[in-house]
């Protein structure tokens, strides 16, 4: 035994005698994880969070969370001698005098944008592949809470430098909070410690940003990952992959290297971004002052949908009822709309389970096309989100494309309602189309482009049948059917309790599963092949395979992998 091996064995023995770590190593060292690029999205979120922690600790060493006014002396020249809060002054100090300070600030900001982007795309992956299904519903909720905490972290951090841009963001928040019926004014005082902006908001946001929210995020990430280990990771469909197994590579060494290496890749790319792409140059905006505001100001991307929502709402919807003001023109876009969006995300897994009456565990992911209504709803949701985000930039769209701001706003107002409906419809049709294409492929094989002429003059195209892995991918799914419910009256003609509820659920279920494309069965495949004179697929050169007579590309189909035209006969 070499010295290193001896030292390692000694350490392991020491630890195991005191912690029993051997059991954990045995259990987890060779734990299998499936491999797919889309599984990296969640990893990006995790790693950018780690980068946020590292760069964040660096920044806290120099940031002063205080709104006390001081006269700033130092770089840049434009800010020299300006009266500003200590928060803003320390941000300038970090950027201009601390070596690597600006780099860390920019890495931190880019990492925050990437964190949210990774969370959102990770959620999209989970949604469209049905990874939220039993037993992972709880983890889906944990993920949504993490996303909301991510928004809170981003928002609280964005406001800390106390510059004009973020100060106006806080002012908008104040306006939104005041619109809440009954308690709005008190909520505003609760947040700002008095009237906006007061002297408390920066220290308070600092505590929220560096203690409260990160602690919650860390705890929930731990829970999120615990669930991943407990449930074992989902896997994409394919040969040998079932709901009863997990196929992939072992944690040690493959994922230690791959996932560990990927952390460095994510961090490296963020360092590259922080070094080369400037972001949030607060000294160009100046310290917060309630009077000035720049045109074309944009929040960070993950807040754009709220901004757009506020911009689109027509102002007529503010009402005075019994002397009290109800600002629906603020309440609906800033509270109700995001509330509805988040509620949809939270409720969806349970809704789908209810209309499917599916109690099984699912570990093999869906191909999005195989669940057309879910995919359609997801795309509709994204469409609404994107339209709101675009509306949040309507002034930039107007100036860049020289269009009327009012016209753009009206177009977005209409699109907000029409866009998702259209997106749902077209996505569902595309999914059904893709499923039919899959059936077509399974039944008749790949088009080879080889045209064959028979002795009696008929032309056909030779089709190459799918190999069994290709076929399995296209036939291995469930086409759920709408629920069947018991009749309104039982055998003795007594009205059944709960019939109406069942009926509603059935209607919903029909919405989900009325239109569907069933997977090809072996019998169908056999039938498709025997419509001709015989049914062979491969390896019988004297035989040829005529399709069922369905027209494909304007001609008859023939399935024959290796046969040349001269070997064929009818």
């Amino acid at each position: 035994m070499s010295t290193t091996a001896k030292a390692a064995a000694g350490t392991a023995d020491y630890l195991d005698q005191r912690t029993g770590v051997g059991k954990a190593v045995k259990e987890f060292a060779r734990k299998v994880f499936p491999d797919h690029w889309s599984f990296l999205l969640g990893e990006i979120a995790l790693y950018s969070f780690v980068v946020l922690l590292i760069s964040g600790v660096f920044l806290t060493m120099f940031f002063v969370p205080s709104m006390a006014l001081i006269e700033y002396h130092g770089q840049p020249a434009s800010m020299d001698g300006v009266l500003m809060s200590e928060a803003f002054a320390s941000t300038l100090h970090t950027s201009f005098e601390v070596r690597g300070g600006l780099l860390m600030r920019q890495i931190h900001h880019w990492a925050a944008l990437l964190f949210m982007a990774a969370i959102v795309t990770h959620m999209m992956r989970v949604f469209f592949t049905g990874a939220f299904r039993k037993p992972r519903e709880v983890n889906w909720i944990v993920g949504i809470v993490l996303m909301i905490l991510g928004l809170a972290a981003g928002f609280s951090g964005y406001s800390l430098p106390d510059d004009v841009l973020s100060g106006n963001g806080l002012r908008i928040t104040d306006g939104v909070v005041k619109s809440i019926p009954l308690i709005g004014s008190y909520m505003s005082y609760f947040i700002f410690g008095g009237e906006f902006p007061g002297e408390d908001i920066i220290p308070r946001l600092f505590t929220v940003h560096i203690l409260l929210v990160p602690a919650l995020i860390l705890a929930l990430i731990a829970l999120h990952l615990f669930f991943v280990v407990l449930h074992k990771h989902t896997q994409y469909p394919g040969g040998g992959r079932t709901d009863k197994n997990v196929v992939g590579f072992p944690l040690f060494p493959v994922y230690v290297a791959k996932a560990g290496g990927f952390f460095f890749v994510v961090f490296g790319i963020l360092a590259l971004m922080g070094g080369t792409m400037s972001i949030n140059n607060v000294w160009n905006y100046g310290p917060y002052d309630p009077s000035p505001v720049g045109a074309g100001a944009q929040p960070d991307w993950y807040m754009l949908f709220l901004e757009g929502s506020l911009r689109l709402m027509p102002g007529q919807t503010e009402y005075v009822i019994g002397g009290y003001t109800l600002s629906l023109n603020v309440l609906i876009p800033a509270v109700v709309i995001p509330g509805l969006l988040f509620t949809f995300l939270i409720v969806y897994p349970f809704l789908e389970a209810a209309v499917t009456k599916d109690k099984r565990e699912h570990h093999v992911l869906d191909r999005p096309r195989n669940v057309p209504v879910r995919t359609g709803l997801g795309v509709a949701f994204l469409t609404a989100f994107i339209i709101l985000a675009l509306a949040g930039s309507n002034d930039l769209i107007a100036t860049h494309f020289s269009m009327s701001l009012n016209a753009i706003t009206w177009v977005f107002r209409i699109l907000f309602f029409a866009g998702p409906v259209f997106a749902f419809w077209i996505t569902k049709r595309i999914c059904l189309g893709l499923q039919r294409k899959d059936r077509e492929l399974v039944l008749h094989g790949h088009e080879t482009g080889r045209i064959v002429r028979f002795a009696h003059g008929e032309y056909i195209e030779v089709h190459r049948p799918l190999d069994e892995q290709e076929r399995w991918l296209r036939v291995n799914y469930d086409a759920h059917r709408p629920l069947e419910i018991e009749p309104a009256q039982d055998a003795r003609g007594v009205r059944r309790k709960g019939y109406k509820k069942d009926r509603r659920m059935q209607r919903l279920s029909r919405f989900f599963y009325e239109d569907r494309v069933e997977p090809v069965t072996p019998a169908e495949l056999a039938a498709a092949h025997s419509h001709g004179e015989h049914d062979t697929l491969a390896g019988a050169p004297e035989h040829q395979e005529i399709g069922s007579g369905a027209p494909v590309g304007g001609g008859r189909t023939i399935v024959s992998p290796e046969t040349g035209p001269d070997e064929q006969n009818r």
């Binding site: 299998v32 006014l69 770089q75 070596r99 690597g100 600006l102 890495i107 002012r171 908008i172 104040d174 306006g175 005041k178 619109s179 809440i180 004014s185 505003s188 609760f190 410690g193 008095g194 009237e195 002297e199 408390d200 040969g239 040998g240 197994n245 992939g248 493959v254 290297a257 791959k258 290496g261 890749v265 490296g268 360092a271 590259l272 922080g274 070094g275 002052d289 309630p290 000035p292 045109a295 102002g315 005075v320 109800l326 600002s327 023109n329 603020v330 800033a334 565990e361 002034d395 059936r439 291995n476 086409a479 759920h480 569907r516 494309v517 997977p519 090809v520 069965t521 019998a523 169908e524």
Partner: protein, 347 residues
């Protein structure tokens, strides 16, 4: 067959139907393993190893470079030199990190075994025996505690636990909102006779200085001491005003506001009635004021009424006149709360 319709019954496969398994294809099992270049050719493996070594070496060089840069490229005195230092440090760091990252991933993908392993999954649900034991553990525990028999005790425990957070919540809520006096929203720093001053210099404005078509950002004429105090920012957040001079013939004034303007000069609160952004963009031709945050548009010539966007109410008007020396002064404070709406605004 190819235009198989959704409601078609051609496929008899159904997950619900008994015997469905017979109607399904068999799982073909794991696809065949395809060996990689490095598996087949020792030379390729050696080459990959060299590449990985080079990548890790790049990381080391990146780290050394960033240390050199730390000393050699200080942030300096100008924005450009700060940028240069940031760029150099960032590049060194990026190479240090990417070398490790790309090297490790390349190692895993080319040299580590890529044979897939299969682990079994087990249902999350515990077995019936385990469940029974769990239920028994809980009932035993509950019995040991006697919680079921001692109703008063149960009530006392629940009450104590439910009430104790008040010891934290009450002091917190009592202090977190300052004095909780929300009626401050109603008043601004403006008062009768207070001069209008230019923001941010604080120089009072004479009516004669305001030319037709111009817009001036205005604050109350308070002492310099007050303007440099911290409380000022909160007062200013309510008191900022936009002053515009129009041709008096173009100005439409409501009956009850005749006399609030002076010779075509009108003053409106700059705080948007939507969510409170400063309404800062004035369009001279149309007399429109545009809020850059959410594009609420107000017509200055017509009582600052909303002509477009998410705001409902006109901007509050500051009644103005001139004093003996020709300086513009406020006749009084605003007669309504400025800024965004809130529940008890009209009470």
């Amino acid at each position: 067959m190819s235009d198989h319709q959704h409601s078609s019954e051609v496929g008899t496969t159904s997950s619900n139907a008994p015997g469905a398994e017979l109607e399904r294809f068999d799982d073909p099992g794991l696809p065949e393993h395809k060996s990689r270049m490095a598996d087949r050719d020792p030379k390729a493996a050696k080459r990959a190893e060299r590449q990985i070594v080079v990548l890790f070496a790049i990381s080391v060089i990146g780290t050394i470079a960033s240390l050199i840069v730390y000393f050699a490229v200080p942030p300096g005195e100008t924005t450009a030199s700060v940028r240069l230092s940031t760029l150099a440090l960032g590049l060194g760091m990026a190479f240090a990190l990417l070398g490790i990252g790309v090297g490790a991933v390349h190692w895993a993908k080319t040299l580590m075994s890529d044979h897939e392993h299969v682990d079994e999954r087990h249902e999350q649900r515990s077995s019936e025996e385990v469940r029974a034991e769990a239920v028994k553990a809980l009932t035993d525990g509950a019995q040991d505690s006697g919680i079921g028999r001692r109703g008063v005790l149960k009530g006392a425990v629940i009450s104590a636990l439910a009430l104790f957070p008040l010891t934290i919540a009450v002091p917190l809520i009592g202090s977190v909102g300052g004095d909780w006096n929300v009626s401050k929203f109603r008043h601004t720093r403006w008062e009768r006779g207070m001069r209008l001053a230019i923001d941010p210099s604080g120089r009072p404005i004479k009516a004669a200085d305001v030319t037709i078509g111009s817009a001036v950002h205005v604050i109350p004429d308070v002492s310099e001491e007050e303007r440099l105090s911290h409380a000022w920012i909160t007062e200013k957040a309510k008191a900022v005003v936009l002053l515009v001079r129009l041709d008096p013939r173009e100005l439409k004034e409501a009956e009850d506001r005749v006399g609030w303007s002076y010779d075509g000069i009108v003053a409106y609160s700059k705080i948007c009635t939507h969510v409170g952004c400063p309404v800062a963009l004035y369009e001279q031709q149309t007399h429109h004021l545009l809020c850059p945050c959410h594009q609420s548009t107000f017509d200055v010539a017509d009582g600052a009424k909303v002509v477009f966007g998410p705001a409902k109410r006109p901007l509050p008007q500051l009644p103005i006149t001139v004093d003996d020396e020709g300086y513009l002064i406020a006749q009084d404070d605003f007669d309504e709360p400025v800024g965004p709406s809130y529940w008890e605004r009209l009470k």
